[in-house]
Symmetry: D3
């Protein structure tokens, strides 16, 4: 059974990772998973939040947002509504946790890195594209700081790559990297964040329609692990490793 | 290896489900998982939100909150800060999705049920206790409405029970139903929501410390499914089924 | 003329004061005036707000809130609306002032005690129940701190008890401790806060319907003073004095 | 014992009530109690809030605010802080209740009157000056609407005047109409709202320092009733009755 | 062609500048341009915002607001809505910039002056009246601080006067100092802020209807410069120079 | 005297206007003025705000925002702070007014177009780039709606182009299209919005340092008009006219 865009169930959309997109940020990446496009910038500042001062350890956090017309119908700006919605909060927290999983705070030293992931165009998988792109921006910001001796530790602050992909059961078939139209029709929807060596950082599966069985979960995890391995390759290529 | 409170790794804390706790709500439950105590009320009103009017279908939603001194140190009230935090949003949405997984909107008819889950005392697992208790309050509200013919469908609005439990890897050992002290020390923390027949509604696993391998995930899921089966029993007992 | 629940006009509802309700708080009380149930916790922290630092004096403040379904119809959460309503503000301030009236700041030393009064179930008189219960929680928190030498003064930080009761003119008759249904029908509604020795801390009378004459005011005050004396007894019993 | 400004304990400050201060409002008054100056405008619009539609009854409400530099030291604007403080809420509600006590909603018909009381200069007693002035603005707005037949009832919408004054025990002496410096030093502070015939609409007494005894309360009420009688006279004079 | 109020196109409305309106503020002015009345207070405090500490330089800022019934129909309070509107922000910023243009920060020393401009009655030109009045209040606050040696510099903190006026093209004719009714009908609306010597601090012209040509702009600027010269005279007279 | 980037004082930075940047919006443009890059999307929906219903006329509005790391140092998100800043408000309003100046509401019919201008990278002149780009996005959205017969009028909804440019006096020299570094050093800063035929829609000049004389204003306007003429050409080229 072929998909809307002709992909097989196990296939990712075309992935591009464009580094150095912004002249201001210490690291910046325009990542695309098909038509989903996310601008990820890493802002490094010396110093850490008050609760971490004097610890010798750094901090990494993330903020996610969508431009109002990144989607098919225009959404209200959260700044205009005066409050951040639950979904935005949830995704910002997910991105932050995912990246922190590969950070060695001691090696980072008392520096703070904020990852801003702004969705310029959305077509499903914005959070997974954001994590995948933000890792590359983070790596660039770390390298930038190492060059300038803001990071002095000999240990590497990043223990390896982290990437993410969505999987879901659409019309009874497990599929990798859902587009928006597939996402809407999925009975089960799962976002999986993996490290470079195929271990899990986050596994978030939700039954949108009917509850899912253990075997279905297993099938989805297999797809996701394979997808993340490919994304890890794309990150390495982008970083010239 | 025994736990702080003498439980084995596969053991739940004592669970109590006290129905009819409030004289006002259509359904109300004081649920406790050990020292975690959550007051769950179900408020049923005729009618549905605007976007659903005329559909013949009902709606179920949830709000979660913690009393300021439900925790070891007092937290600021979200009403005083003027905004709801990301964690609160995330959990409210999780509870709502979990309960909606067992609701037949057609059978519910154009009625809305709001589940309020207020944590009176917290000791780990507040969201899983909330889901488990809220299901019982929901069942009571549905029965209340059926008696009064507000729900007229012959089909049952609830397709079966839903319950939730936390699992995690603490000091290298997978454990069921974490207390706060265990939760803090867990390398991996997972919340699992199951239907009465052991299928999954939500699986949310997070590597707090090190990423987790596939076998670890499997071990945690085994524990969680067994825990939810016991909670399903407790719900049935409480409901006199 | 007998009342809905068979009480005489001068009679309080059954009052219970359950200490030690929460394992986390330094003082905690579940107080009930009939079906009105308020959870009062006292949180003591060392130190005082900035404007009081170095004064050698402590501070006591209070926050009042209602659970959304503590009432007959569900109310919106103030955290969700993003602002605290006028009534909540007014009552929080009243509780704080009432308790501060019996506090010797010098003897308390540079400690801060926050009283959280959360209404779990409402049936009239929530603010008066809150004050009456909060005093007991406050006394427990003070004793807790004295044991731990956080309060070092030999002088007692509390000069004696404080309690509160509502009175009102219902169908022309002055009545003590109004239930919700009576409160709604009252032409005049008054909340009175008294010290253990029958002096006034607060007197707040409002003509809901017709203005009230001096003799009516006097009759209400007589009722209230007698009611507070009984509540003072209940507090002493609870505290084992 | 004479007061800072030479008054006796039973004496009001000079009171002025200047009608027609604004060309836009249906009723407007600049009221002063000594150096306290409050601009009260009454805005009448046809129609009532949604919850009152079709009832044939009107509605009256009030909003109180202070200009930032109406006080000795500049206060932050509540619009800038993004939230209304508890004191503002409390006073707005008090003014609204006080005026509603003399309104016959049926006679008013489905019209809404909003009283805005903005303190231009504060020197104690701003809420009592506001109530006293707002009544006159309200009377003017009612007359304006009667002339234009927006109010058609033959019954008078206002049952008589309402005025307010502060009293307090300063240095052991009960005093009428406290200035700011006296207010700060008062052990007991009370605001009393009376109708033209000396009955009470609101009695709000607070022990700022020591609790107060029944006789003290009685002394204060005597002073307040006498003060309100004088204010009632000033209102009549202003209205040319 | 004569105007609604009989003025010629080049004529200002009657301007009054009443100093010392408030007993609390260091400088205070009630300014009127015809029926537009703005209360301007200058609050001087020692010290500067954090970002300016230790610079030896002062700071001047402004806040503008309208009383709810200063206009023909009542507007909601921004404090009640919980956010400041765009127009308020824009005007507050304009007033602040205009006054800062004549301030020598070094000569002011580390003092902060806040200008509060509260519109008591609006009839067009509130922002220009505010700037014109605020300058006088500012001058008074500076003199007050010089007398008290809070400002120690021998240099004058104010380099000369600043005033503002509106101009616009109404029914094809350029006119000075528009009233509300004229403002509403203007095709082009311009606010011009000038120093005492006829140079520009701000020029803000907006085509409300049709775009305007260079000659029209020139005509409006001529009118405005002449108007500001008259306002400069009124300021000098008020200040007794 | 040559500028940082080698331009003459009368020269624009390289301008690019890339249409069709987003697949979702009815019109979308990525505009750049040198390193300043703004994504402008036009969202057309049928219907108009409530206050305009039944008028047969359309509406056009705009929202401006900056990505947090579009600038040299990261700024807080306005959604996180919970309120929109004054500068954002001011620019959003300016963009909306500028575009409305060339819109024929009757010809547009009851359709609403929202222009979102999100700054991806900032280097001075973000508001002028936004207006210039938004006009092209607006033209595309209008054409889109004409093709689909959502706009039925034979009259053209847009009366001609509108563009904007900044000018300023830097080190005594009037310069066109300021970069950030020049903007910071400018004594006078002016934004000018012109129609295709060189008439003015907005003229906003501000003395950042010293007030400016009439001749200086004239010099700046000459520069701006010439700059807008070039931008008008770039818009025509982009639109293939």
């Amino acid at each position: 059974m072929s998909r809307i865009d002709g992909r097989t169930a196990e296939e990712l959309r075309p992935v591009t990772i464009e580094r150095g997109w912004s002249k201001h940020a210490e690291g910046s990446v325009l990542v695309s998973f098909g038509d989903t496009r996310v601008l990820c910038t890493a802002s490094l500042t010396e110093g850490v939040p008050r609760w971490r001062k004097g610890s010798g350890e750094g901090w990494v956090t993330a903020e996610y947002a969508m431009l109002p017309r990144s989607t098919n119908t225009r959404g209200d700006r959260e700044s205009v509504r005066g409050r951040i919605g639950g979904r935005t909060h949830e995704i910002s927290r997910l991105i932050g946790r995912s990246l922190r999983a590969v950070v060695d705070y001691k090696a980072l030293g008392e520096n703070t890195i904020v990852l801003d992931c702004d969705v310029l165009q959305a077509d499903g998988g914005t959070r997974t594209a954001a994590i995948t792109g933000a890792y590359v921006a983070l790596a660039d910001a770390v390298a930038w700081a190492q060059e300038r001796k803001l990071i002095k530790s000999k240990a590497q602050p990043l223990s390896g790559g982290v990437s993410a992909v969505s999987v879901g059961i659409v019309d009874g078939t497990p599929m990798l990297d859902l587009r928006y139209e597939e996402d809407v029709r999925a009975q089960t929807d799962m976002n999986v964040v993996c490290t470079f060596d195929g271990r899990f950082v986050e596994v978030q599966g939700t039954a949108e329609g009917a509850p899912f069985a253990r075997e279905e979960l297993n099938g989805l995890l297999d797809l996701a692990v394979a997808g993340c391995a490919q994304l890890d390759g794309a990150q390495r290529t982008a970083l010239g490793r």
